[in-house]
Amino acid sequence: MLLHTDTAPPLQPAANPYQPYMARIVRIQKMLDDTRVFTLRFLDESMVRSFRHRPGQFVMLSIPGTGEAPISISSSPTRPEILELCVRRAGRMTSSLFRLSTNDVVGVRGPYGNGFPVDDIRGNHLLLAAGGLGMAPLRSLLWYALDNRHLFDGVILMYGSRSPADMLFRDEMLSLAGRDDVNCMLTVDADPSGAWTGRIGHLPSLFDHVTLEPARTYAAVCGPPVVYRYVLERLLAAGFSKDRILMSLERRMKCGIGKCGHCSVGYKYTCLQGPIFTYWDAINLPEMI
């Protein structure tokens, strides 16, 4: 395991930033009926070694003959050599991806976006609050923090899903519950199976069970709009400054490199200045959330 105490070294931008590098699908894990984790490894060994990302960054994934789309990286830079992409089947591109098998080849370029400001978070508590598929981009930060545990003060994970069956990376999440270096709080909205022994309730209700130190904590939030609404409410009520609340946002992207204009929100490009924005950025940009 490679420990990263610094931000990723600058990648020498390729001569043609639109040109993807080919990567092989080495593993496909089914998470939910419509959600899978695709593990990729570059064909070119020098790319395997040189590709470094920051938690919260994304790649542009190409499926030959189909197209290209932005996908956030779910694996941590502390576990290099492979890339894990947690994908929900939602449209033309992801449907095409779901028809691929292990050993099929796809194109990858990146990493793009700002990623989480891990240097700023260092020395502070880290609160991760994810709802549903929001775990996909946060998982990278989660493992980055756990693998560099000494860099952070307390680490709290709040993860809510609709039901135990809807929980992404469930075994991994449950295994965290046994660790004493992370306060892992899992909750489900409902448990039709009746087998869930953990908490039942919406994600924001987890705030009733923790004492937070807002002035020494960064909160990383990701989830559907309803999660943002209520989690942000709880964070503000707890006294968080708006620039200590970090959010990962999704926008339409075609190029990923600040040219095509699609991910523009007011005067920022989600692909360059995002996808991680502070809540202060968010409320100052039109149409942001």
Binding site: V105, I257, K259, S264, Y267
Partner: protein
């Protein structure tokens, strides 16, 4: 800057010399309008033109451009393409040169766009000054003069063109004519100043861009946007003809019976209903009014924050191209209007 002058009656000869620097394209007439086009002979060129239907943008960011070709086993590679093709654009107005300088900002940065950059390097620009008409407001947008981004720039001073030499390539063009260009006299400079002043007076439109970003912030919820949304046809004409609109879409086209294919970029517009639509169906700018507001906001406020100036050069093309007469100058004036009685 090296400044010379060219006798007007030697322009034909100069144009013939310039051919050795690339295929010459210039404005030609097309059914009462003008378009930049490859010249078959110099006499087709119309240097006294108002504005071309499309700006020179079409040469640097073509409407549809193949970016990559995919072949199984080979991956994605750039097609041979024509980015190295040498052209000379003859007769580009200052606003359009300015617009290219703005596009330069977008297509440079952390990830320089190699296709745009190659074209910018291989397409020479010979600018020419112009007389504003009723749709021009480049002066308001500080784009009525340019000091870079061209190879040569001609300004009419009566019997001569005052010639600004903007690059080494421009200098090569001058040198290739040997003795054609003459040195500038103090009287020429005075004539330039007189004409510059007269041009200033000729503008019929005026837009105040100071504190426009602030006004955009304050009028973000204005009913003006709803009215414009009801009026706008979302036809995309304004974006297509805009010299600084650069939004593009990228699409893959597969070869029949194969995953091999071509990835192209095509002009897109923030006025289209699909522009901010993400997989899964969420659309961040679903209403037409939110889209037309975005277009104005991005140009007059967003771009200022990002690059320090509006991404509008006042060329007037969007005014001439809108089927329902949406007029940016009127919109900006309306935003500036005070509609409420003073409360104190």
């Amino acid at each position: 800057m090296k400044i010379l002058k060219l006798p007007k009656d030697k322009l034909d000869y100069f144009a013939s010399v310039v051919q050795q620097f690339g295929e010459v394209h210039a404005p030609v007439e097309q059914d009462g309008k003008y378009v930049f086009k490859r010249l078959t002979r110099w006499s087709e060129a119309r240097l006294a033109y108002d504005r071309t239907i499309l700006p020179p943008k079409k040469y640097f960011l073509p409407p549809k451009e193949p970016l990559l070709v995919y072949r199984p086993g080979e991956g994605y590679v750039a097609p041979a393409g024509d980015v190295q093709h040498r052209l000379v654009l003859f007769g580009v107005h200052a606003c359009d040169v300015y617009a290219l300088n703005i596009l330069d900002l977008v297509f440079a940065g952390k990830y320089p766009d190699p296709y745009y950059q190659a074209r910018r390097k291989n397409i020479a620009i010979i600018g020419i000054d112009c007389v504003p008409d009723g749709k021009c407001f480049c002066r308001s947008m500080r784009a009525d003069f340019v000091d870079h981004g061209f190879d040569l720039f001609f300004c009419d001073i009566g019997g001569h063109y005052l010639t600004f030499v903007g690059s080494a390539l421009g200098d090569d063009m001058v040198l290739a004519t040997e003795t054609l260009f003459e040195t500038v006299s103090p009287a020429d400079i005075d004539e330039y100043k007189r004409r510059s002043g007269a041009k200033h007076e000729a503008f019929q439109l005026d837009v105040e861009i100071r504190d426009l970003p602030e006004i955009f912030e304050m009028e973000y919820g204005s009913a003006i946007w709803d009215d414009l949304g009801a009026q706008c046809l979302s036809c995309g004409s304004c974006s297509a003809v805009c010299p600084t609109c650069y939004c593009f879409d990228m699409n893959d086209e597969a070869v029949l019976g194969s995953r091999a294919g071509t990835r192209s970029r095509n002009w897109d517009s923030c006025l289209f209903s699909t522009h901010a639509l993400v997989a899964g169906g969420e659309n961040f700018r679903e209403s037409r009014s939110s889209r037309i507001k975005f277009r104005f906001y991005h140009k007059q406020r967003g771009f200022v924050a990002e690059y320090g100036r509006p991404s509008c050069v006042g060329c007037g093309r969007c005014i001439t191209a809108c089927p329902v007469d949406i007029d940016i100058v009127e919109v900006l004036a309306a935003l500036r209007e005070t509609r409420h009685a003073a409360t104190h």
